[in-house]
């Protein structure tokens, strides 16, 4: 099975605009930056969280703390999948207790990653609220989870894969692609 590029759905400018809009929405919904804590899910939730922080700084002039979350230890498929993901560090700069956590990830799909991330955060303390920000929502949820902030809704078939590329993680200009699984 190979992956064949099908279409580009976002370019660098589109990603920038989506991030800026989400930053505005976060500030509007939370009435400022008080008690906010951005947490990026490794790996591509981290650049999204960093950009949201930069955008919020530009708009509001305030610095929102940012943490990095590795969800490997909370996956629900650890014992069934055939490979073993490497555990990376979780680094949250301050306690999540009483905070409004903005959980960030690149793509929302089955919802299982978000479930794992919420469990991981709850183990660190009791936040006041958890909100979810994603760049792409592609549907096909397997759990009752929805995002509070969405960059772009992309209806997909399950044979398609969404590839988000960030310059920080992928050594290429920011873009979002749809690729298709093709049987040989």
């Amino acid at each position: 099975m190979t992956l064949q590029p099908k279409a580009q759905i976002m370019d660098k400018e589109a990603v920038d605009r989506a991030v800026r809009r989400i930053a505005h929405e976060i500030l509007e919904k939370n009435k400022g930056t008080d008690g906010l804590l951005l947490i990026g899910i490794r790996r591509r939730g981290v650049p999204l969280a960093e950009r949201l922080r930069a955008s919020i700084r530009e708009i509001e002039g305030a610095e929102v703390p940012l943490g990095v979350l590795d969800i490997t230890l909370y996956r629900d498929d650890l014992t069934t999948r055939s490979d073993q993901p490497q555990v990376h560090r979780t680094e949250i700069p301050e306690s999540v207790k009483g905070k409004k956590v903005i959980l960030c990830d690149d793509v929302l799909y089955t919802g299982r990653t978000v479930r794992a991330a919420m469990d991981a955060i709850m183990d660190l303390g009791r936040p006041k609220a958890i909100q979810l920000a994603v760049l792409i929502d592609r549907g096909h949820r397997e759990l009752p989870i929805r995002a509070d902030y969405v960059g772009k809704n992309v209806p997909t078939s399950s044979r398609e894969v969404i590839e988000v590329k960030f310059r920080e993680t992928d050594q290429t200009e920011d873009k979002v692609l749809i690729v298709e699984k093709v049987e040989e």
């Binding site: 490794r42 590795d70 555990v87 979780t90 089955t110 990653t113 592609r138």
Partner: protein
């Protein structure tokens, strides 16, 4: 790269990549020990049995807590120290444990190679927690972790291992591990407690403790196994202490930012002066904490994934 093995028996047969993976994983997992709620669900439904044919407090408890922090079920079998366990009996014990559905057996045994025997006859993962005078791989790993955490690397560090090298499985595991990771390892002790041919492992030897400590980044003191004194391997504890005891005066020869280690339990005033054991150079309590993190890493890498021999995925999320 996953840890492609069923058992952890020695550092002699472990590659640099495997050791690095364990140390990196331990580095990620150590954060859990600082949490209010020290528990992650990763090894839920997995079971770990400790099977100790020799006394131990820190190693056994450390494995048990490591398993519990990762949500594995842990149980302990303590056998009497005096029992000479024959092959047949050990085999039966192991099969009994396996029949209860245990996924991993952590074993300490007075006979070198006993865990290897168990590894051959059992489906369960076997972790060697010390076999005779042979090896104690997780102690070697936690010592390397502690050094790396403080110094940032192991490469080109001068490490002096001081004391009873002959009887020490801790020394052997450290020698294999540290030399592979590129450290410059020196061993020193009385000639009667120095195994012949130890240079072949790539270490340098001296019978003058000052020569080993001079310019060292790390001074690792071994426990003097006092019961050996009866065998006449050294004249008296006092003489040993005078010639090889690690004191403040001798440590003045080490690098200014050296670190002092001891696997415990310590004989204060014998192989190590009491004041230096509690000094700011001492890493001895860090070693205990790091021991839990390293054992969590080993348990995760052996038990927390799919079948062996499969490809590795980047941590984070599924392919969307």
């Amino acid at each position: 790269m996953p840890l492609n093995r069923k058992d952890v028996l020695t550092l002699e047969d472990m590659s640099v990549e495997e050791m690095t993976l364990i140390l990196d994983t331990a580095d990620s997992l150590k954060e859990i020990l600082g949490r209010d709620i020290k528990k992650v669900p990763t090894l839920r439904g997995r079971s770990v049995m400790t099977l100790f044919y020799e006394p131990s407090t820190r190693t056994r408890t450390s494995f048990e807590m490591a398993g519990k922090y990762m949500s594995a079920d842990t149980a302990n079998i303590a056998t009497t120290t005096s029992a000479v366990v024959k092959g047949e009996t050990l085999k039966d014990t192991a099969w009994t444990v396996e029949a209860m559905g245990i996924d991993c057996i952590v074993m300490r045994h007075p006979i070198a190679g006993a865990p290897h025997f168990l590894a051959r006859i059992c489906q369960a993962s076997i972790i060697n927690a010390g076999d005779g005078m042979h090896e104690h791989p997780t102690q070697g790993l936690l010592d390397m972790f502690s050094i790396r955490e403080r110094k940032g690397t192991l490469r080109a560090l001068k490490v002096a291992i001081v004391g009873d090298i002959l009887h020490s499985r801790v020394a052997r595991s450290n020698i294999w591990g540290l030399t592979k990771m590129g450290a410059d390892v020196w061993v020193t002790g009385p000639s009667t407690l120095m195994p012949p041919g130890i240079e072949r492992t790539g270490v340098r030897t001296t019978f003058r403790v000052e020569e080993a400590i001079e310019g060292a980044d790390v001074v690792m003191v071994l426990r003097l196994q006092l019961e050996r004194q009866k065998k006449g391997l050294f004249p008296s504890i006092r003489e040993y202490s005078r010639l090889f005891g690690v004191t403040r005066e001798r440590l003045a020869l080490a690098k200014q930012d050296f670190i002092l280690m001891h696997p415990g339990p310590m004989n204060r005033g014998v192989e190590i002066a009491s004041d230096v054991a509690d000094s700011e150079y001492s890493l001895i309590t860090d070693q205990v904490t790091n021991g839990v993190a390293v054992r969590m890493a080993v348990l995760y890498l052996l038990l927390g994934g799919g079948p062996e021999g499969s490809a590795q995925a980047e941590g984070g999320g599924e392919k969307r």
